[in-house]
Amino acid sequence: MLVFFIRRILGGLLTLFIVISITFFLMRAMPGNAFTKERKLPPAIEKNLLAKYKLDGTVWQQYRGYMSDVLQGDLRLSTKYRSRTVNEVLKQTLPVSMTLGGVAFLIALAVGLTLGCLAAIGHKTMLDRVSMFVAVLSVAIPNFVIAPLAILFFALYWHIFPVAGWDSIRHVVLPATCLALPFAAYVARLTRNSMLEVLNQDYIRTARAKGVAEARVVLKHALKVAILPVVSFSGPLAANLLTGSLVIEQIFKVPGVGAFFVNGVLNRDTFLVGGVVIVYSTLLILFNIIVDVLYTFLDRRIQLA
């Protein structure tokens, strides 16, 4: 067990190193720099700016300087948000995105698993067909359409939730639900299919024959195995939630990290993008490790490599 952890963490660190390096070189290779503005900068001032942000010298020099700072925990300054360090920006925005993503994750799993189980149990009934249809529907409409519609109805017309912002628990509901929806749908389909497969196994039939109640059969025996594909999907789910949050955060004015994914690149804010990439990749690596561990607890047949 310990060996497994050490191996994975070392592997993760190596991955992180490669990821940060690739990102750095790509960002520096892009045309235009952080200080290209509508009003042309006098060259002397531009030179000073580049020096202040340590973006002068050869790319190799910049890279070495950057990596040594990162290893000491200093993610440098943001070139767009001038008085902010990247650490400060992440400190303010990361908890917000984690909350949004976390709540969305729970909603996706809770709704998805429940719906999927119900559909599987009521196989070939109306419940099954309708819920699967709705599930597929929500993957066919992009979330930048669902979100404004949700705001229109739930906030502007019916005044149930606030329109945008992030000041109270009421502000969390709409963005988290819109974010969770396509994933809830996917989890529902996944659960249903895998549940159907499990419910046909012999040992389930035995349990039923022995007179065990249907609910108990499903919850106690079938779910543990059926949930495996969902668990392995959780890894990519986390990643997608982080990227999907981009749109949701913009539309609902949630002060999270999502904004920096795109804007960071468009503003050529090398160090902010570096910071965001570190966060993203670290989370993904951690999540994959957790998923692998969970997998072994759930399915005794699988062993940690």
Binding site: K37, R82, V96, V103, P255
Partner: protein, 526 residues
């Protein structure tokens, strides 16, 4: 299973505590535009940052609700006959938010900081009108004492300019020339001093809270000399760059005012124009097309004039932008002090076709395909689509649309790697010079490759001319040369500032040509 549910419930409670719960509600909330890049007066360049900085700091002069210059920290001033020497008398009751008095030394030190090469202030060139300031900023003159700004004592500041600059008092109200509290900067460092809790400011407000992409909260400054006239105690400025989100916040009552013109959903403008809470007025900005005069066929002025004449500007402002923008036949927007623009190229497709024929492309035959470069998605795309169609219908020439991402677009323009480029320019101060000095030979903001010795001469002459009438005539001649005779640019429309607020509840906002609405004067009835 149950265990899992319990755990998830606990986790969600913990997660939800990651929500920020504000302790108090603000008296007034407005939508400012995107997240401010900085609040340091020496560093900022944008209009949205300027709004916040002008509330936190105050310069020698300030603006009233109509945008006119009024005394700020300086209660009176004397100007020499040759227009080059200013003596400012600072008021004795001006204070910083920690009680320290505001002195002339504060101004001298702040301007020095702005001009220091290490500060890398992007708008340092606003101070270049001061004697030797440019040399100091370029690092060529190490001794700041030779720069034309001196504090004679605590209350008196003497400034010497290179040329008589009629708009210098305007510039004194500009954020770049506002003072900063040097002791605070020395104590906390260049990046930290601006944060809530550290910052010391001399304007009507101080900074109470600043959370990225969430809000900037201003609190009335108890030490401000004009405290009695500050209407609102606590103001929230919400950052957003999504027009629909901004409008939703306003519609639902979460915000009282929208100030930034980019925050109005363009599609709705004609429906919103009749409403009592819709307020608009022209302001000093022009939307225009640049021509790359170094490349054929646009190196021929006849071709450029033809294109300018073929653009139906009225259709564009009626169909695409729809905020009631005035059509731009010339470059300098109307409403500038002491200035009327000469008549330049309007909309005349017949004349356009004639000019194109004279240039050697009758009916557009033989005219190569050219590209039209633009950056942003909504308005620029709409205008470009119409122009592409107009040029095809009226002149028979084929224009390819090319959308590039913002920085790439700026790069392409700087490197003259384009044929026609969509552009805009906002004036920094209320004088035609801020629009016309762009196009001198080699000017950093020229970006057309156009070079005209007579134009350069006229601009220089105007800079030295003290007499208002004579200067007006010189500038008119320059503008005619720019927009009519040579036409390296084709102006399309003048910007209109749009604000949303309920006039029954909110007062203190006056439509003005600078789109300046100092927060100090706003009052709200509940």
């Amino acid at each position: 299973m149950m265990r899992l549910l319990h755990v998830s419930f606990l986790i969600s409670i913990c997660l939800l505590s990651g929500c920020d719960s504000k302790s108090q509600k603000a008296d007034f909330v407005f939508l400012n535009g995107a997240e401010p890049e900085s609040l340091d007066p020496a560093v900022i360049t944008g209009q949205l940052e300027g709004r916040l900085v002008s509330s936190l700091f105050e310069g020698l002069t300030a603006r009233d609700p109509t945008g006119s210059i009024v005394p700020g920290v300086a209660e009176r001033w004397e100007i020499s006959l040759d227009g080059r020497q200013y003596l400012f008398h600072l008021r004795s009751d001006a204070r910083w938010s920690n009680g320290d008095p505001v002195t002339a030394y504060d101004f001298a030190d702040s301007w020095k900081r702005t001009l220091l090469p290490q500060t890398a202030a992007e708008y340092a060139y606003q101070l270049y009108y001061i004697e030797n300031a440019e040399a100091f900023n370029a690092g060529k003159l190490p001794d700041f004492n030779q720069v034309g700004v001196h504090a004679l004592d605590d209350q008196r500041l003497e400034v010497r300019l290179t040329n008589p600059t009629p708009f210098f008092l305007d510039l004194c109200a500009f954020p770049t020339l506002m003072p900063v509290h040097m002791k605070t900067i020395q104590k906390y460092g260049e990046d930290e001093w601006i944060k809530p809790g550290h910052i010391v400011s001399n304007g009507p407000y101080t900074l109470e809270q600043w959370r990225i992409n969430q809000r900037v909260r201003l609190l009335a400054n108890p030490f401000y000399w004009d405290r009695a006239n500050v209407g609102l105690n606590r103001i929230d400025a919400l950052p957003t760059d999504n027009a629909n989100t901004a409008f939703n916040l306003y519609s639902s009552g979460a915000a009282d005012l929208t100030l930034d013109k980019n925050l109005i959903p363009a599609m709705l403008l004609d429906a919103l124009r009749g409403r009592p809470d819709f307020h608009s007025s022209p302001f000093l900005g022009t939307y225009f097309y640049r021509f790359n005069v170094t490349r054929p066929p646009l190196n021929n002025p006849l071709v450029r004039q033809a294109i300018a004449l073929a653009i139906d500007k009225k259709r564009i402002v009626e169909k695409v932008t729809r905020a009631g923008e005035p059509v731009a036949d010339h470059f300098v927007p109307p409403g500038i002090h002491n200035y009327e623009s000469p008549a330049c190229l309007g909309h005349n497709p017949d004349e356009a076709r004639e000019l194109l024929r004279k240039a050697g492309y009758p009916g557009g035959k033989g005219f190569p395909t050219i590209s039209l470069l633009y950056a942003d998605q909504s308005i620029a795309k709409g205008v470009a689509t119409e122009v592409q169609d107009m040029l095809h219908k009226e002149l028979g020439i084929t224009v390819q649309l090319a959308q590039q991402e913002w920085k790439v677009y700026l790069n392409s323009m700087s490197q003259l790697d384009y044929d026609i480029a969509a552009s805009s320019w906002l004036g920094d101060y209320n004088d035609p010079n801020t629009f016309l000095d762009m196009f001198v030979t080699g000017g950093g903001n020229n970006r057309t490759g156009w070079s005209n010795a007579r134009y350069d001469g006229l601009i220089q002459q105007a800079a030295k001319e003290v007499d208002v009438e004579k200067r007006k005539i010189i500038l008119q001649e320059a503008e005619g040369l720019l927009c009519r005779d040579e036409a390296p640019i084709a102006p399309v429309y003048f910007y209109v500032g749009v604000q949303f607020y309920d006039p029954q509840k909110i007062t203190g906002l006056v439509q003005n040509v600078l789109d300046e609405h100092p927060l100090k004067y706003i009052r709200k009835q509940n």
